[in-house]
């Protein structure tokens, strides 16, 4: 067996588990942000958010859009890209490509940073908590944790 063949099963196992986790989490995030985007565009008239109305306060605030684009739609793009990258990273044809760990780790870091910014706005600027936004924040943190093993892959490539 070649060196590559000896390494592939071990790295593939680690990669498979963490990439599967990213795919599952990103899919959940994708569905959640789709729901919020439909609300932002008025397709859904009422957010199921529990009592208190925090979701509506946050979603109607001036921070709910970034350069005119609903934040939730940015979430659809981000989670969608991570979902596709994780699924591709699970295919034997793409699993060892250097771009996969870069995209997954880069996307996870970007997502975590964006989420931290939005959570800061909720806490200190808008003074209201949107429960679905917090669920999305939790997903972003978990995706980041699941993407950490990709660092090993990156180091190996370096």
């Amino acid at each position: 067996m070649s060196t590559l063949a000896a390494e592939t099963p071990a790295s593939a196992d680690v990669g498979a588990v963490n990439r599967m986790s990213i795919a599952v989490l990103a899919l959940a995030g994708l569905l959640l942000s789709t729901y919020m985007t439909l609300y932002a565009f008025g397709v859904i008239g009422d957010l199921t958010c529990g009592v208190g109305g925090g979701c509506e306060t946050v979603q109607h605030s001036s921070w709910a859009r970034l350069f005119g684009v609903p934040v939730a739609l940015i979430g659809v793009g981000g989670y969608g890209a991570l979902f596709v990258a994780a699924l591709l990273g699970l295919q034997p044809r793409f699993a060892a490509r250097p771009a996969v760990p870069r995209v997954l780790l880069g996307g996870a870091i970007l997502g975590l940073t964006f989420t931290a910014y939005l959570t800061y706005l909720e806490a200190f600027v808008i003074h209201a908590w949107c429960r679905w936004c917090l669920v999305s924040a939790g997903i972003a943190v978990l995706i980041f944790l699941a993407a950490l093993p990709e660092l090993r892959q990156l180091r190996r490539q370096a």
């Binding site: 795919a23 599952v24 899919l27 729901y35 859904i44 109607h60």
Partner: protein, 224 residues
């Protein structure tokens, strides 16, 4: 891998089903349509429940009745341009009493009935006219919504100083559905076919969009 794709499929199916349910349903027990008169044994009895919202002195020499729809652009023009001047010049001086009747056209104006109910829910907290003005002023914002803009209406209630929880409880129920339906029925009985329809001391005021004509009609009717 099969288990993994199975999990993905379950999440996707459950998530999409929840979203579809939210898009189609979600209004719960909220009355968004007028009462179906065919289901009533005596629809004419409903007329007794018709009740406008008034502004001004009861004994004002000029009585103006307005039949209006919250989604109709011409009604927003009336409220934003004519009604504002009217309030300042004649209502506040006791010469005119305005009575506002809901005439939700429905059809293309899909949220007009629930908007009329929302205004009355604000009225329960003595915020009717503030809410009425904001609702008509922001017509372009909430009117575009495909689904019932419940959240928007609740936020608007908050901005006019209404207590949002009681407002929300009112909005999500069938409160005021009867009176709004009755008002529309009253309008139909009086021959209202379009909105806004304005009656000045019992006679229809056709030149409502010209304030000078409205002023002249008020003065001719004794509101000097």
């Amino acid at each position: 891998m099969k288990t993994f794709y199975g999990i993905l499929a379950v999440i996707a199916v459950v998530g999409v089903a929840a979203i579809v349910y939210s898009v189609r349903g979600g209004d719960g027990g909220m009355a968004t349509e007028p009462i179906d008169l065919r289901q009533l044994a005596d629809a004419s009895a409903l007329l007794d429940r018709a009740q406008g919202v008034t502004l001004g002195e009861d004994d004002a020499p000029v009585q103006i009745l307005v039949f209006s729809d919250y989604m109709c652009p011409a009604c927003a023009t009336w409220a934003g341009q004519i009604e504002t001047l009217l309030k300042a010049e004649f209502v506040s001086t006791g010469k005119v009493r305005l009575t506002y009747y809901d005439f939700p056209l429905g059809g293309h104006f899909r949220h007009s009935f629930v908007a009329a109910r929302a205004a009355r829910c604000a009225g329960d907290q003595d915020r009717y006219w503030e809410y009425h003005d904001r609702l008509l002023g922001a017509q372009q914002e909430w009117g575009r919504s495909q689904a019932t803009p419940t959240a928007y209406f609740i936020d608007l209630a908050r901005t006019v100083g209404a207590e949002p929880r009681s407002f929300e409880a009112c909005l999500r129920s069938d409160a005021h559905a009867e009176v709004v339906t009755a008002n529309r029925l009253l309008g139909e009985t009086l021959g209202v076919g379009a909105t806004p329809t304005i009656f000045l001391n019992g006679r229809q005021l056709r030149q409502w969009s010209d304030y000078n004509a409205v002023r002249a009609a008020i003065q001719a009717a004794g509101g000097v």
